[in-house]
Amino acid sequence: MKNTTIAAEPASRHQPISAGEAATLRAEYGENAPPAMHVCLFRNGWVDVLQLTAGDIDLADIAHGLALTNRWNGATVQAVSVAWHSLVVSAVASEIDPAAALHGLMHDAAEAYTGDWTRPYKLHLGPMLTDVAQRIEQACLEAAGVTEPAVTSRAVKEADEAVLLLEHASRWA
């Protein structure tokens, strides 16, 4: 029955997948085959990235995903995880605005679901990519209890830039 579900995914939510792709998924995953827009998580199996809500977000998925996601598209001389980056951004942001610490920690939480898209992708691949990323980010912030991200976004952005400069100046990146 799961196989029928894959073929019947509404076109408004997902790009339809071909019969060949569905067969490949069925062959690989059997009855647990994921639909085309689902991503695998550490703790919570599969989640539909286009339908993600705050109720789907789990700290273990975020922490594990960010700890194993490297900054700078992997082009670093040593491991520089997004989790570590987020810890430093949080610390710097809290100095600028004490209310920004949690927002700073969670500012890249969406990358546990999307991976780390480097800036050229975000800047040049159009609104579809950023729309998906923003909706996931919103769900993550809501789940973490960041109720007014607009208030602290300036401090977080400033801290994010400072840590990026540090990563570059330290030749980690």
């Binding site: 550490f42 703790r43 919570n44 975020i62 570590w84 920690l105 809501e142 840590v163 400069l165």
Partner: protein, 66 residues
Amino acid sequence: MRSEDQERVARARAAAERINPHANGAPFTLANKAESAFVDEALWLMPAAAPMRRRLEGPASTRPTR
């Protein structure tokens, strides 16, 4: 590097050194260390009413499972 950027780097370096003082602020080399530090900090900062915290502290039957 511009002087204002040097100030920003110094500020970020000081924060990094507080997070990992044993390695002069360098990133954690072990992923599980980064993961546990992230969880600790999130639990420290998250308000009690945050949905993510409520799920973690809810009944075992509602906790996420792999």
